[in-house]
Amino acid sequence: MVTLLLQKVKYTASKNICVKISLSCRHDDLKEMLDSNKDSLKLEAMKRIVAMIARGKNASDLFPAVVKNVACKNIEVKKLVYVYLVRYAEEQQDLALLSISTFQRGLKDPNQLIRASALRVLSSIRVTIIVPIMMLAIKEAASDMSPYVRKTAAHAIPKLYSLDPDQKDQLIEVIEKLLADKTTLVAGSVVMAFEEVCPERIDLIHKNYRKLCNLLIDVEEWGQVVIINMLTRYARTQFLNPNESLLEEGGEKTFYGSDEEEGKEDKVEAAALVVKRKPYVMDPDHRLLLRNTKPLLQSRNAAVVMAVAQLYFHLAPKAEVGVIAKALVRLMRSHSEVQYVVLQNVATMTIKRRGMFEPYLKSFYIRSTDPTQIKVLKLEVLTNLANETNISTILREFQTYIKSMDKDFVAATIQAIGRCATNIGEVRDTCLNGLVQLLSNRDELVVAESVVVIKKLLQMQPEKHSDIIKHMAKLTDNIQVPMARASILWLIGEYCEHVPKIAPDVLRKMAKSFTNEEDIVKLQILNLAAKLYLTNSKQTKLLTQYVLNLAKYDQNYDIRDRARFIRQLIVPTDKSGALSKYAKKLFLALKPAPVLESPFKDRDHFQLGSLSHLLNAKAGGYQELPDWPESAPDPSVRNVEVKYPTEQSSTEEQKKSTKSKEPKDRSDSESEDEEESSTESSESESEEESESDTDAKKKKKKTVKKWRIYVSFCVALLLKCSFPSPQAASPTCGPLKTYELLHRITGEGLAVTYCFSRRPFTGDPHMVSVQIQFTNNTEVEARSLRVLEPKLQSGMRIAEFPEIDVLPPGEISTVVMGIDFCDSTQAANFQLCTHTKKFFVTIQPPVGELMMPIFMTENEFKKEQGQLMGMNEITEKLTLGEGCRGDHVIIQRVISTANLSRVPCGSAMECRFAGKTVTSGSLVLVTVVTKEERAAQVTVNCEKMLIGTMLVKDILQALSQ
């Protein structure tokens, strides 16, 4: 298989070279340099190649020559090769595979930085074939000792995800693991991975929420941004709206009304609400988030400041949002691009929370050096901030802007004045007068823009301003900007009763120039003609006919359509239907004045600071900011289990303290029960642990030795009585096989048997405990039964059982001894002595007894199995024996053959078992897959191949019986 692949690689490589040599000989010198022995030449070549890549020139034909140097000793050459490899691996997948082994080696390097960089490059190579290798590397790195390697693993997750989205489930597991990481180095990167892979799995955050809040200030800047944005979304799903009781809607209704009114309304409605709702209490976790993010407003990084600002805007109670204004105003002194983004967000904020920025009004004054786009945005903010008290200052400021040389900006200013005028009734007349004066401006653009704005303003109170309409009618002679002309014509048509003498004259002039006008102007001429025809047909009948005839043959179909439509509607003919009766109503209906709105209104349904908000359109991968929940989800999900220390007393103390820390409403009865039961079991475990701990410490002291023996003796006794110890529940081992150590006849009346008790040996975890049972079949008592002169293979050790002083006739005595078999099936030879005789005996363990069970989940099992492939995997097929039906029997047989524990798994066709060897702790993984017709397959994955082979044999035998 491997050789086949290699051959294929060689073949494609040579083909590539053959084809390309003819095409490009120009890179020959580079190839030569790369092939040379000198690092300096290689470096020079690589530098030239990288420069080519940087300029966007194609250097892919050098791939084979470059990849050869991937294991180069020189660090700079190596780094540049990496750069090249990552750039072109996608195009030359087969050749790229050649480099993989170098990185795999790097992944095992003792130096964490090398491990990290190997993982980084490996995961950047976008070749689908290596997905399993990447997955494995990521999983391994996720549990690396070094936080830096774990950080790199977090970075690699989105890379793998984009390469193969099918890996999502496995990657989520890794993310879950890394989210639990407690180092600041990892936090930012893993949240980034979370956002890219599974932003919808908000449940993964619960347990880590408080930790993330507390780590936040120490995370590097870029990570802070990502975490804050994610936590904003999280908080929106988990906490209640702090402004609910204040009722924002009331404020919005009277948005431009006076503050007093607003206040009154608020009070009334709030009072009404108080009756309905119970008082709002902020979740302490909500408060924690707000408190821990606030200092970051002082960050030098604009992105961090913006992230905190949007968090406060979306999550904080109204009264506290104000703190962000100062920080945002500070960003206004940064680069113009930063200003651009910040101003967009400020513009949105000012619509909802105007008061917040009012004290900083002057910071939004426009400088002559600002780029136009900044000027326009500042205008927007100033307009939003305008109210009765500051409008005069703002207007004075606007007046100066009109003198600017930047015409786009002037146009925007005129629009802004128009908006102020519509929004604030008191200044409407002043604004209108100012704008009318602009009509005599020398710049046509200024005039045109003013006309458009005046038109909108006049619509509010046309009756008062017929002189302005007259003035504008005169402008038609000079002004050329189509939009302005159209606006004037519309005005005259709409209010022709206010200017009855001028209107027909304007129509006459327009009819004359009709063919030369722009389309929008033509449409308005038609409108004007129709309206005049309806009100003053005597004077305008012929003119209207003329205009309609011209329009009939216009090039633009809109205009032709409109002409046909109007003609049918207003000129009474025999055929004309019922509609013409209503022509007057149709054309001369009272039109509502336009509402001049900010383009930033309602933009706050996008998360502020996001790209989507800036574009006012959903960008790919944008996560909606959810609405506040109606009622708060269970806050206890964020409670983190406290790890209880070993001593019982302190456990209780701890428990008390955690309980007192938690708010009272948190502890619901169910979780409490769980907690207690878990403490109990951990207590009993810890007791044992502490015993064995103390054992280990005092091991060397002779005096204690006896005591230890006593303990092991007790344990043995306990076992014999089959006392339900906490651990006895876990392995379902069935009856133990007993082996003969000394036959009654050879032992001259003393019979000795042994069995493997499958209990951990108390003295030494690396030993297999062997339970030995002495039976005295003689008439005399046997004295001082003990072990003597063990003859052992190198490395093997024996923990002798305590000497049995007296074994009366007919009595049975059981002891436990420990043997370290060094994970081999070699026999332990020793002498068994009584006070009179010596017997040579041998204990040979079946391979299944050299291991002890460990508990694993299916996923862990699969993960570990993935790492024990190839030589470490032994698979055999078999036919199940007659009595071997159903997985229950299989489990029982496997477990009686080997000391393993079952791995819970979903499939009924598969049984998995896990254990580790007693001495070295190497994993032993057994999978039994049953197929139809009693066919089955046994797979053993074990680092120790010998054990694996023997175990397969034993299991085969057990199952085929």
Binding site: I75, E337, Y365, A619
Partner: protein
Amino acid sequence: MIHSLFLVSTAGHIFLEKHWKSVISRSVCDYLFEAQGKASAPENVPPVIATPHHYLISVYRDRIFFVAVIQTEVPPLFVIEFLHRVAETFQDYFGECSEASIKDNVVIVYELLEEMLDNGFPLATEANILKEMIKPPTILRSVVNTITGSSNVGGTLPTGQLSNIPWRRTGVKYTNNEAYFDVVEEIDAILDKSGTVVFAEIQGVIDACVKLSGMPDLTLSFVNPRLLDDVSFHPCVRFKRWEAERVLSFIPPDGNFRLMSYHVNAQNLVAIPVYVKQNVSFFETGSSGRLDITVGPKQTMGKTIEDVVITVHMPKVVLNANLTTNQGTSTYDPVTKVLVWDIGKLNQQKVPNLKGSLSLQSGAPRPDENPTLNIDLRIQQLAISGLKVNRLNMFGEKYKPFKGVKYVTKAGNAGPQREQRSTFFCWNLFE
């Protein structure tokens, strides 16, 4: 996150591209060129451009567009801030951030970009860490490198990335231990034609140059910290101590860095150090105009005002200017329509004056706008807000460092960070 980066000169030449994920064709930059064509100046190109498949986020610095290509949602400021960080790193490495210097050091640039981003997410952006991994080019080193074939890439592994204080590299050693702090303040003001202040504020920064061995822990305190209204810090500053005691406590990065930026409370009256009298008028007939500008010192607290430069943006119809001055030099660029008057030092005795005639395009209408004046100036040894550093203490190391504080006041900022000037707006109201 960031998918690709293109560096584009103002002439529209893409001279560097780097991809962190799969390759994106450089034709994506056409959308930028389109926007550039519409904009009157490079500064007016919108920083965020949406294209059918990508989003372009660009910053314009030192006559180069840094264009990042984005495919999915990302906070725009995140990218903008990062791009500026890239530009600052180049500046730091090559002394200037220009097309030529980037082209000359293209390999180092590539190595830097490789370290700064991983899969489009920022990895190492701290100058201290980067310098540990990739040494900045110096003339000496490049000579040595060509002879010996040794490299720019540090042989030792960068341990700074692993530490809790990523901004400081480990094992710093100096024979002379010194720490210098520059308190630089800027006045940002808008005045109207009569010289009345419309808007004025003082912003300051403390730039530090710290060359201390080992892991020093510094504390900097002020005589009058209450002056500071709004502050932002380098990540090394412990925010809690500032909140509680109003002192700056920090383990400094090695070398140059900006310790803090601050804003002085606007309620304090800002003293404008100079006055300007200007009179620019255009005659109704004869297509000509007159210009008369006088500058003099006002409140300077006994310090001299230096480097005074006045810039006037003239209306488009002004063809040329024939001006005489009693101090400094004046130049008028007829293409950009910018008049620059470089005065230099302001003396108490002599008041600089610039006057003369302007020739306008014949036949064109008289411009009705009044030009705006921008003034740059500099006062040494004075922080105009009155902020004073009290003392600098060092803990954690035994040696005695040499300490220094310098105060400078500027109008606007000539440095790379800001574009603002103290602007003297002139207005004409509606009659």
